[in-house]
Symmetry: D3
Subunit: 112 residues, 6 copies
């Protein structure tokens, strides 16, 4: 579906997508830290699509179970009990990718 | 005012405050990383009080200007243009603490 | 299910629903513009149910693909990358109604 | 300023304001309970203007300090640490109205 | 899945869950009132998982249809039309538990 | 302060600001409509800084009082009573710019 969005001649949307990809590249902070920042942001804004995306990316960057759970803990305390179902689905998803070896499918600009 | 809140006999509130303090201690992730997680969460939830608190704490943990700005960049792209005024006040505040040597006043449980 | 809600004797809820319908009628601004306002509001508040409703209504009011995408672009820049999955589902839904000739089912007061 | 808003010929806005007033009247639930519902909603949506309004109204309806703090506790746990500054200002405001005998100024439709 | 979360050695998460359970116990306010506070908070924060949980709990505490609808009305007026789909699913769910005698499955710390 | 932000070498932030400016230019939709879209988005996301900015911009684009109030009405119904204080400050601000002839100060990339 990205193709449909990108084939439309809307430069603002296309540029935003490019910017989104650029944001998580290594810089002063490594991609690993940035992905954890993306994960906690998705948690407090309570968006499962982005939580699972960043869980996979964090795992690819070598974030351990213990570290991941601490990211979740920050999100939980900042965002409150309303975050719990997202945290659960995040942990559940983490379990599944362990078993199944899922990788972040990252077509150009694909995440949130 | 914390005293007033804590002197009231509400255990839930008191425990939440203790938990909040515990969240940012060194663990699998160092306090430094956790403060950056707290900062980006405050940015996307758009709360100046917490942004300034975490800016000071990040600085105390040795987060550089370049790193801080990258945390802001993640918050901006995830949270959108609605985040800009908070980003501005965050950068402005950063400038002021440079000149004035402000430290995070951290009475027990004081932040968000 | 609206019947159930409306058959309950809660005047506040019934009046709110009537008000909601009235809001999008032609006035100083045409319904066409108001539906675009409803669409961008639903996008930044990230609610798919309302996004699809307003996409259909916008289409019925003659909003073109190019215009629709510009509404999406405003929502994306104001609301941030967290809006992307909603934008995708909105565009996807737009594609489907093109093919299938879907119309906004508008039982009295039915939308958001 | 309400006069300015109401003198404008916008029926939707005027009706919304009337509805807002009607919402908190005694019904199946007493006004007292409804004001506590309004208070916790304002807390989790983090809006000081509405928090102080509902704190005053709750006090007028005879809600005690202990009860008020339990409403705050629910808001804190549901909404997370991001709610803390609002809770503080709410408790601070509560202290002030104790000393000063503030009453909810309730010009027709005046609150949130 | 709770077991997985709790078996992980993250004290912050475990304590938050315990606190969440404690919040809704009888205190200065009865559990019945607190569950209504939890319900309206879930509505304005627009989270179906928590809405259904609290609907069941409210029913268990003897909240009547008329009272429940007034809680919904407060949530609708405070939170706006964006709340409508959640209100609908809440009412729909209420209908189903009437027929089926659903009870809140409350494994330790299970809700939001 | 923009200078400080832009002088920092963070390309993501700079590009986001440029994109933000580009978003509201005439396109398939005229700037006038886009500014109304920006206004309603700021209202439902409840951000005064952006509300006042877009009120000024709408006025510059020739949006009338009646039209402006209808934009406010959509924001109020979608976003709920929590929007009222912002609507008030928006109307108040509108009154002031009438008398004082305020123009949107638009340093490059300055708004939200």
């Amino acid at each position: 579906m990205n193709e449909r969005i990108l084939s439309e001649d809307n430069q603002v949307v296309r540029r935003f997508f490019a910017l989104d990809t650029q944001t998580y590249k290594d810089g002063a902070l490594p991609a690993r830290t940035k992905e954890m920042l993306g994960l906690v942001s998705s948690l407090v804004l309570r968006y499962d699509d982005c939580v699972t995306y960043h869980v996979v990316r964090c795992r690819e960057e070598g974030v351990t179970d213990e570290e991941m759970l601490e990211v979740f803990a920050v999100g939980l305390v900042v965002g409150g009990s309303i975050v719990i179902p997202h945290l659960r689905r995040g942990v559940d998803f983490l379990d599944r990718i362990e078993g199944e070896g899922i990788h972040a499918t990252k077509p150009e600009h694909s995440h949130t």
